[in-house]
Each structure stands twice: as structure tokens, then as C-alpha cells.
Subunit: 145 residues, 2 copies
Amino acid sequence: MDKEALFQQFVAFTTSVHEVTFELTKDVKPEDITPLQYSILEYIAVSQPVTLSQISECKHISMPNTSRELRKLTEKQLCEKFEVPDDRRKQLIRLSESGQAMMNKAFDQIGARFFERIQDLSTEELKGIHHAITILQSKVFDENK
Amino acid sequence: MDKEALFQQFVAFTTSVHEVTFELTKDVKPEDITPLQYSILEYIAVSQPVTLSQISECKHISMPNTSRELRKLTEKQLCEKFEVPDDRRKQLIRLSESGQAMMNKAFDQIGARFFERIQDLSTEELKGIHHAITILQSKVFDENK
DNA sequence: TCTTTTGGTTATCAAATGATAAGTAATGGG
DNA sequence: CCCATTACTTATCATTTGATAACCAAAAGA
């Protein structure tokens, strides 16, 4: 097995993934939201409720900057902070109703483009894709190395 | 075949890919080079020789900004511009020797991390991965939809 | 030839992001 | 109870990036 060739293929593949996700998500970010803020909202949408520290760590943003962006997002009424009873230093973040609506709309658009992209594939092929993703996810892109 | 579930899996997968590529490439960008400049160099490295317009289009950077970043890169002696005989408006960009050396070093580091990541896998598993990437590349992440 | 288009440049400005220092309040461990 | 640590905030500054206008020269088309 030629590992070097596999690496080449891997690099080309990740490039394609970045390019395609760019295509799928472009223009879905609503007006007056910065890319960074959108990516934070995306993370909250998937993982809520989350703490500031979690956002900071997972998105690789320093705590001061995370705090700043989150203030802006709450000012825009897109998410809300809740105190957590057992540790009054922490705060749990959730999308607000309008924030949730916004992200639902965004995901709908992305989904529509995704379905368009796979529309011509047979059930067999879709199964193959599901299987391929499962393999890669578990063997190469798993978080714990 | 539940397309909705496949979409969920797809989203989680692309997130993992972004995360892993971040881990693989972090700290490989040499001092005094901005992220944007690094990504341009990466593109040149893979696709050289390229024109300014190609960089602009593929990396989604406006021509003025592409021109600016490229000027900085040539000032840093990391790439070189060549005139193209049959159309004197165009310029072909290539990595300079030191630019090539820099990118080789970066790719070596990334490769080392990649190999570490797959070191415990059997030949069978590696073949499976190769196959999985081939499937996804052709059916989902192909450029022409 | 005249005009339009293409490929690229320069200059300038605004906005987004990153980095750092300093501070508060709550928690937890001795 | 004291001290260190955690979670988060505020303020400030530098850098990076994005966006726009105005420009030049070569090429291509009528």
C-alpha cells in the first residue's frame, strides 16, 4: 500500500471538501452577520446548550474575543445566555427563537443544495456514500486520533 | 434511503474534515506569513504555474487584493512572476526556490501527522480508505456538481 | 481604426479578527 | 479562611482582510 499516494489523494480530497462546503454555504449567511459570527452560530445550533469556554475551545477563538462576539450576537437577539444553577460562573448559550429560525433557514438552503447535488444518484450509490463516510469518519477523521 | 439522515451525516463529516485539516496544518505556517498568504502559497504549490486571475477565482479573492498579497509574497521572495510570451498582459506565478523549500517543509510536517494518524491501520483498512475517498470524490465532491 | 474586454495595478478606506492586559466574581482545595 | 484557579468581561490596539474607485496596457472584435 503506497502511503504517499494515499496522502496525495487525501490532500486533494480535503481541498474538494473545503471547496464544496464553500459552495454549499455561500450566501446563506444573513445580512449583517460576519463569517466568524455565523460559524459560532452554526456551532451553537449543533451543540446547544454550550458554554463560552466550549465555543472558545472548539472554534479556536480566545475567550475575550469569544465574549465580544457573543455579546454582539445576543445584542442582535440571535442567542441567549442562561445562568447555570450549580456553578454561577458559567453561562449556557442557546439560540433564541429568531436565531433558531435563522439557522433553520440556512440549513434548509444548504440541504436543498446538497440534495440537488446527489439527486441523480441511485439508492445503491447513496448507500455506498453512507458507507464511505462512515469508514472515513471512524478511521481517519475521528476526533481522538 | 433516508436522505435527511445522509445530510446530517454529511454535515457532521464535513465538520470533522475541517477540524482534522486544522489540526494537521496548524503551526506549519512559517512566521511572518498570514493565513491568507499561506493558503495562496498552498494553491500555487499544487497548481503552478498559475495566473493572478486563477488565484483570484479559485481562492475567491478580488483581483486588487490578490495583486496586493502576491506583491507581498514576491517581496518576501517566496514566489516569482514570469511574463507569458503569447499574451503580454498575463503573468505566470511560480514558487521561488525558497518558497518551494518552505512549502515542501510544510507538506512534510502535514504528511508526518497524517501518517501518524493512520499508522495503526492495516493494509486492508488503508485500501478501504482509498476506496471510500475515491467514491466520495467522484460522487459527492466532484467540482462539476 | 476605434471600441470593448481582459489582466493586472495602485491607492485608499472600512470592517473583521487577533492579541494582550487587567479586572471581577465564583469555586475549590488545603 | 486563604489562595489558586476557573469562567468570563471590558478595554484597547495592531493586523489582516474585504471592498471600491480609478487607472494602464495589451488584446480582440467590429
